[in-house]
């Protein structure tokens, strides 16, 4: 079970990023829990300055905009 957090105050891109994570996970057949983090303080604690950001198992893998599909799959599989 992978623990994925999508960091973002709730703009359109943040929602799109969350949808991308869910899609990629179901396509790859990976079991994930997706949690949205909208609290600014918590986002800052991850050291991310631009949203949306993606955290997988506690590690920040991406920040600022939508991830690329290929990269996202790689992060989910590793």
């Amino acid at each position: 079970m992978k623990d994925v957090k999508v960091l973002g105050p709730g703009c359109k891109r943040c929602e799109a990023a969350e949808a991308m994570v869910r899609d990629a996970a179901s396509r790859l057949g990976i079991d994930v829990t997706v949690e949205k983090v909208t609290d600014y303080a918590e986002i800052a604690r991850f050291g991310v300055a631009s949203t949306p950001g993606i955290v997988i198992d506690g590690k920040v893998v991406h920040a600022g905009g939508l991830p690329q599909e290929g990269a996202l799959e790689k992060w989910l599989q590793s």
Binding site: L7, G8, P9, G10, C11, R13, C14, A16, M20, Y40, A41, I43, A44, R45, F46, G47, V48, A49, S50, T51, V60, H62, A63, G64, G65, L66, P67, Q68, E69, G70
Partner: protein, 355 residues
């Protein structure tokens, strides 16, 4: 195709070779240039189709509208594409790493410059502010960055260059940067860290050193440019057309003497009124420039017009409401005061210099 779909396209499969990207780009640029060179002819032809006298007020307004609409949209597309590619080399996290722990002074200059180049959407303003401050970027330097980003809008800069000329564009760039540097430095000197919201002060970034691993290929960067065009031009075109319509009315109907009386360099109150008028106006930079173009064409003073433009772009109420989450009201008041004073100074100075 939506930007989401473009970003989501699997990038390992069916990747066209690089030369195709460059050939496509070159072709698009040639087509752009050819179309651009025909704009006057097309707009005059369109007006001649209308049952209006070309020299009438309406004829003038229509000619302005038919000429400026394709021109601004074409310029906008080119500028946004180029900036999309350039910005793929920058990220807020990299910028923050560059600025963290730097001494004020040089860092203010760097922050102002990076503020123009670093991409971030307005919904990121708060995380960005906190991210900078909590990672040890001095408050004044953070302000230089936060002020420069909207103040020297790269789209406004490119449009000014294309519509009004390089002198005005360059002055805008110089004074916008200068203002961001000085205002940030002043705020830093005032030692206002205590005026941040309490919860912001308490944050110490845990993994505050995240720097994205961006080894993008050239075609990825080109694709990011195209994505930026779809996103930004797709969002602001309506504002652009509204701005051009206002500009067209000014161009066709407002008498030059009236303009000189209201926005001329002689009326001392023209600069403060222009700033006061600009604050509650919230429009896109791309929509303001056609208005600026028409105002200048009618003989409005350069300083007054630039002050109006800068206050529309840099002192917008919605942005202050967003920043309210991290700054206390007192700190916002200082921010508005410093930036507003700077804009007034720019306005008066220009009216004096170009009188």
């Amino acid at each position: 195709m939506s930007i989401e779909a473009i970003a989501a396209r699997p990038y390992e499969q069916n990747r066209p070779p690089l030369w195709k990207w460059f050939a496509g780009l070159a072709l698009a640029l040639v087509a752009w240039g050819l179309a651009y060179s025909q704009l006057v002819r097309v707009s005059e032809w369109l007006v001649s189709l209308m049952p209006v006298d070309r020299t009438s007020h309406l004829g003038e307004a229509l000619a302005f509208f038919f000429y400026d609409t394709p021109k601004v949209l074409m310029l906008l597309t080119l500028i946004v594409f180029a900036m999309g590619v350039v910005r793929s080399y920058f990220s807020p996290e990299k910028t923050r790493a560059l600025l963290a722990g730097k001494r004020e002074g040089v860092a203010n200059v760097m922050a102002a410059g990076l503020g123009i180049l670093t991409p971030f959407c307005s919904c990121s303003a708060v995380p960005l502010f906190i991210g900078f401050v909590s990672a040890g970027v001095p408050l004044g330097v953070t302000f230089s960055f936060i002020i420069a980003a909207p103040m020297v809008n790269e789209v406004a800069l490119g449009l000014l260059f294309g519509l009004v000329g390089w002198k005005v564009a360059l002055t805008y760039l110089g004074f916008g940067l200068g203002l961001a540097i000085v205002a940030g430095w002043v705020i830093g000197r005032l030692k206002l860290e205590g005026w941040l919201q309490d919860w912001v002060k308490q944050i110490h970034a845990g993994g505050g050193t995240f720097v994205p691993d961006e080894r993008l290929a050239v075609d990825d960067r080109i694709r990011l440019g195209i994505e930026a065009v779809k996103d930004i031009v797709g969002r602001v075109w309506i504002w652009v057309i509204a701005g051009i319509a206002v500009g067209a009315v000014i161009h066709g109907y407002v008498p030059a003497e009236l303009m000189a009386r209201i926005l001329g360099a002689d009326a001392w109150w023209s600069v403060p009124s222009a700033v006061a008028l600009g604050i509650p106006m919230y429009t896109n930079a791309a929509g303001v420039i056609p208005i600026v173009e028409a105002l200048l064409g009618k003989g409005a003073a350069l300083g007054t017009t630039l002050a109006f433009m800068m206050s529309v772009i840099a002192l917008s109420l919605p942005e202050m409401i967003i920043l309210r989450k991290v700054l206390t009201l007192r700190l916002i008041a200082v921010f508005v005061g410093v930036v507003g004073t700077g804009i007034l100074a720019v306005g008066f100075l220009f009216n004096m210099l170009f009188h």
